[in-house]
Every structure is written in structure tokens, then in C-alpha cells.
Symmetry: C2
Subunit: 364 residues, 2 copies
């Protein structure tokens, strides 16, 4: 059996949970033991992941829960909405499942965010477990308790801070991940370098080919280091009063791309990758970073097969979309900018500078 890495999230009020990272965890009985007791478990997944892993998870959970239901939602960011959330709630209520029922989010970030939000609001809160099956979910969205759905006017605009009981990141599930999704996940891995760990950025640059060829040990390290950084940040600032915002490097413009093109056109990681290139450039234009950093990050993004050129939505549309960003305050658009390699902060940026940036990148 391969080694299992464990990263611990430590929150206020002695709340704590484990992220377990390793191969074969899905079929490991220990992964599912010592969770909250209940009469029923409900696996929420999508129609892509269900045929691959639902039966195996169900088999494991049947050893723990008398009843294990399955809710299968349509796959894709365009389905991260009220309608899908309602399908989860309709199932729970239709089956009269009680408030001890444990939900299991089996899938990528969309499934994790929606299942977590359903768990947060069903009967004002039931326990849930994250079982991320995409790189993006394993390194980012399954960790830290941000749950949400999209609104036509803005990404992740309705949601809750609600922590899972545990995160089980089985590296073997990445074997079935489409190449495009693997690359999208790498965007969030790359993110952790500039904002928190210059050494990790170098490591990613050195190991990019191994990551792209799915070397399990290299992927395992990327997941673990990403989770460590995220755990550290979330432990200091669960509800994004300050520090946590740095995890949104590349996301201000990224979310605008996703909303602006229609959810699902670009993958979240693709939009974030492109957003990071522009945020790096903004960091340079604001006098925080040398131009070499912009080139370095763009090169890495391009090597990872991720987009570095934003879609041409027009400046006005971009500004309008970014103004509903959760970080915005009283109309001023705020970006996470890199202040030094491994350190980021939130900065209000004048509209004129953003317009210029968008024009120079062919997006205006």
C-alpha cells in the first residue's frame, strides 16, 4: 500500500479535520471510518463520475451506513445553479432523510461546492465529506469550506462557509481525468507559488512534464504541498476577513471570463490561469514586480497548455462583471497582486489602469 499523506486543517473553536492524500483511498475501509454516525449516507456526484466511481464508494459506505443513496447531477459548471441544488434538496426531503444524514461529494469542484452548500442549508446543516476526483478539487476547492452556487450575474455569489468532516483525495481517481481537466487543475497548483512559496514555483517549473504525464509521486507532492499552503491560510482566516483573499489570485478576472462567456465555456482553471497572467501584469504595472515575473508566469502557464490570452469581451463588460466580485467594495475593483515572490495582497486598482491592461492584452 502506498504512503498516505495527511494534512490537518485547524480552525477556531477547536474545529479540525483531515485531508488524506494517497493512492487507493477510495477502496480503503479506513477512509470511511470514524465519521459521524447516521442512518443514511447520500453520495452526490455527476453523470461523468458516477459510472467510474459511484459503485465503489457505495460499496464502502454500505459497511458503515444502513442506507446509501445516490444523487446524480448533470456534469459541468453551467449546472452549478439553484436547479441542481434543488435536486439534492428534493431528494433529501422526498426521502425524509433526517438531519444526521451524511452527504458525500464525489466529483470535482462543482460537485463539491454544491454538495457542501446543500449540506450547509439542509435542515440548517448536516455533515458532509469531500471526495474530490479532479486535480482542481484535490488541490483547492475541496479544502477550506467555501461552498457556493453560481448566479447568472456572478460566479459563486450564493453560498456559505461550511467545513467538511474530512477530505479523501484518492490520487488514483486522477487516472480517469481528461487531459484538459488535469491542466486546468494545474492552474490552481501554480497559483500557490507566487502567493505563498517561491520554492514551490521553482519545483513546479522543474516538474511540469512529470505532472503532465501523471507521475503519481510527483502529483502526490503537488497535492500535498497545495493543501498545506491552503490549510495554513484557511486556518488563519476561515471567513476571508483578510489573508484568505490571496487564494483568489487570478480569480477576479477569471470569474469575469467564466460569467462573461457563459459558465462552462472555459474551465474554471483555464479562466484562473489567464487571470493570473493579467494579475501578474497588473502587479508589474502597479510597480510591485519586475516585468521578468510576468514573462516567467506566462511561460509556465503556456507550458502547462493553459490560455494566457483573455477573450475579447470588451472593457465595459469586464468592468461590469468584475464590479460584482465579492472582493469589490463600494465600486472599487480589488485585485490580488503579487508583492514579492511568495507574498500577495489585496489592492484597489483604478478603472483606467484595468482598461489599459485589457486593451494591451487584446481583450478590450
Amino acid at each position: 500500500m502506498p504512503a498516505i499523506d495527511t494534512v490537518r486543517i485547524q480552525l477556531p473553536d477547536n474545529r479540525t479535520y483531515q485531508i488524506r492524500i494517497g493512492s487507493g483511498l477510495l477502496d480503503e475501509a479506513a477512509s470511511w471510518q470514524a465519521l459521524p454516525r447516521a442512518a443514511a449516507a447520500v453520495i452526490v456526484t455527476n453523470d461523468t463520475v458516477a459510472p467510474l466511481y459511484a459503485e465503489r464508494l457505495q460499496a464502502q459506505l454500505r459497511a458503515v451506513y444502513a442506507r446509501v443513496d445516490l444523487v446524480v447531477l448533470p456534469d459541468g459548471e453551467q449546472h452549478k445553479d439553484w436547479a441542481s441544488l434543488n435536486r439534492i434538496c428534493d431528494h433529501l426531503l422526498g426521502e425524509a432523510l433526517d438531519r444526521k444524514t451524511v452527504l458525500f461529494a464525489l466529483g470535482g469542484g462543482v460537485i463539491g461546492d454544491m454538495t457542501g452548500f446543500a449540506a450547509a442549508i439542509y435542515m440548517r446543516g448536516v455533515p458532509f465529506v469531500q471526495v474530490p476526483t479532479t486535480l482542481l478539487a484535490q488541490v483547492d476547492s475541496s479544502v477550506g469550506g467555501k461552498t457556493a452556487i453560481n448566479h447568472p450575474l456572478g460566479k459563486n455569489m450564493l453560498g456559505a462557509f461550511y467545513q467538511p468532516e474530512r477530505v479523501i483525495a484518492d490520487l488514483d481517481t486522477l487516472d480517469t481525468l481528461p487531459d484538459r481537466e488535469l491542466r486546468a487543475g494545474l492552474a490552481e497548483v501554480i497559483k500557490y507559488g507566487p502567493i505563498a512559496d517561491a520554492g514551490f514555483l521553482c519545483w513546479i517549473e522543474d516538474n511540469l512534464e512529470a505532472l503532465l504525464s501523471r507521475d503519481k509521486a510527483v502529483l502526490g507532492y503537488a497535492v500535498r504541498r497545495s493543501c498545506e499552503i491552503k490549510a495554513d491560510v484557511v486556518g488563519q482566516d476561515e471567513r476571508e476577513q483578510g489573508l484568505r483573499a490571496i487564494l483568489n489570485f487570478g480569480h477576479t478576472l477569471g470569474h469575469a471570463i467564466e460569467s462573461g462567456l457563459g459558465y462552462g465555456a472555459w474551465l474554471h482553471g483555464e479562466a484562473v490561469a489567464c487571470g493570473m497572467v493579467l494579475a501578474a501584469d497588473l502587479s508589474h504595472r502597479m510597480g510591485l514586480m519586475p516585468v521578468e515575473f510576468v514573462t516567467r508566469l506566462r511561460t509556465l502557464i503556456e507550458r502547462a497548455g493553459l490560455p494566457a490570452v483573455p477573450p475579447r469581451l470588451g472593457s465595459d463588460r469586464y468592468l461590469q462583471l468584475m464590479r460584482v466580485d465579492k472582493k469589490a467594495e463600494a465600486g472599487a475593483i480589488r485585485f490580488v497582486l503579487i508583492e514579492a515572490l511568495g507574498r500577495a495582497g489585496l489592492h484597489a486598482v483604478p478603472d483606467t489602469l484595468i482598461t489599459q491592461l485589457l486593451a494591451d492584452h487584446g481583450a478590450a
Copy 2:
């Protein structure tokens, strides 16, 4: 100026807020000072309350916030749903209001529950203030941080524990309350006697006529004492791990009546009143209370002009509806029963006993 009573809610992590109770509070500048600073405030109310009080609240808030919006929802329990919740969210996002925006819930329990839930989920949480204008909201629903919407399959099934910044209970707003709503509010006042304070039950019996004739001093005491009891319970058990469930005396059957007849047919307080009569009888049948208590409570409910006879939905329908109650666990229906005057607890009750009870009350 009449005296202002202040009741303080004390929660874990040093979270605390005030309930201010008195006449004239709506037009009092002090009511709206020292709240979270923001560029915008949004008053959420309904089409009955808006013409009565919205302008006065807007005038007060304009002294504090640069912008004060108004969202007017249709009145009634039947509108406590996703659609109304979405109207609040659509307004907030449509106007690109940021996550410091303060929401003000101006109205009864439906408005308070929905506005609180919208505040809980908009950008994962914005501050809100309760401005209850019904007796029911002043004595119960505006206090303690339970927020929710209804689902066709169950009352208050989707929601969050989310505390307001402050509660402003202006007794003068009760002047415009329809008689039927005043009586419905009295049901929740009566509730506090059997579950927590035998002396308060006697006081209500002695002062019922003064309450029904809207004697301001007597109403003021009823609101204050109700809030004190609720604050005490909620302070010990914010998230209903145990004790807090006693506040749901009469609600198991009450919620079934509301769902079963269609939301809005009976007022919430009416359904709770009837539910208390049956829960009192159950307390007797379970050997906890003498039959005299059942008669005493029924007499008081009837004196208050509240219904004591449940609608004839049929036993099977009642059992089905009560099985989705949030207190239910693994299929067993649990009732809040009175164990002694001023003391209540949660008890699993066999289906056969419930069926017999419903038959004896003409509801089967």
C-alpha cells in the same frame, strides 16, 4: 419618551447582540447607530408592511447609509420560498451591492426568516438587522438566528443559523397588526410558559384581556419576558444540539398542519397553538403531566381565540408530514413534551400513540 428595554443575546466566541424593545424605536436615531458601516443598506419588506413603515425606516437609514434600497416581496407564508429568496439575491447582484451591504428585515416572521437567509448566503454572508413588526416576530422569530425558507415537502427545511446584528422591536408597529395576527403571535408567547416559566403562564392567564386589547405596557412585558427566555435558551444552545429544541413545543404538529393545508392557510401561530394542545395531550398520555394541564392549556388557547382542533388531514398524511420534521431521527417522530410546568424535553413517540391521539382529536 417611554422606557426602552434591552435584552442581550450572548453567544459563543463573544458574539453578542441586543434586542431593543419599546415604543417609538423606529423613528429613534439611536436605533440605527453603531451598526456595521457600509455604502448601502437594503430594506426587505412585504407589500402589506411597506406602505406602513418603509418610508420612515428609509428616512432614518439615509442618515447612516449613502444609499438605501427597498425590496418589496409579496406578503404571506406561501411566498417564503426559493422564488422570493431569489428576488432578494437578484436585487443585490443586479445592483452590484458589495459584501458589506447591510440588510434590514422589516416585517413579520416570513420577512425576517427570508432576509436572514439571504444575508447568510449572499457572498457567503453579509450583516443584517431584524426590525420585527408583528408580535410573533418580536417574541420569537426575529431572535436567535434561525433563518429559512419553506420547501413544498416541509416547513423551514432549507436555512442557516445566522445571527442578526441587532433586533429593533418597536411596540408601536403592533398598532397596525390585524387582530388575527396578534392572536397568532400570542401563541408563541403562551409557549414560553409551559416550557420554561410556570409563573409567566399564570401572568398570561391573568393578563390575556389586556394583551388582546393591546395595552402597550402589558404587551411590552410579554415581549421582554419572551425574549429573555429565548435569549437564555439560545445562549446555551445556538445550533439546536439539544436544549433549543424545547422552543419547538407545538411545532411538530404545527408544521405538519402548515405544510398539509398549504402554506398560508393557517397562520404559523394558529398551527402552533393547535400543536401545543395536542402536544400537551401527548405529554399526558406519555404519563408526564396530569390531565388538568391539558385542559388548562386548551382553555387559554381558546380564550386567545386560537384553534384547538386540528384539521382532518388523516393519520397517514400527518405521520408522513411529521417524519420530515427536523427533530425526527431515523424515522422516529420526536415531540417536545412538557415534563413539569416550566420544563420540557424531546421524546420519541410511537406511531400508534400518535395515530390514536389524532383520531381522538378528530384529525384522523
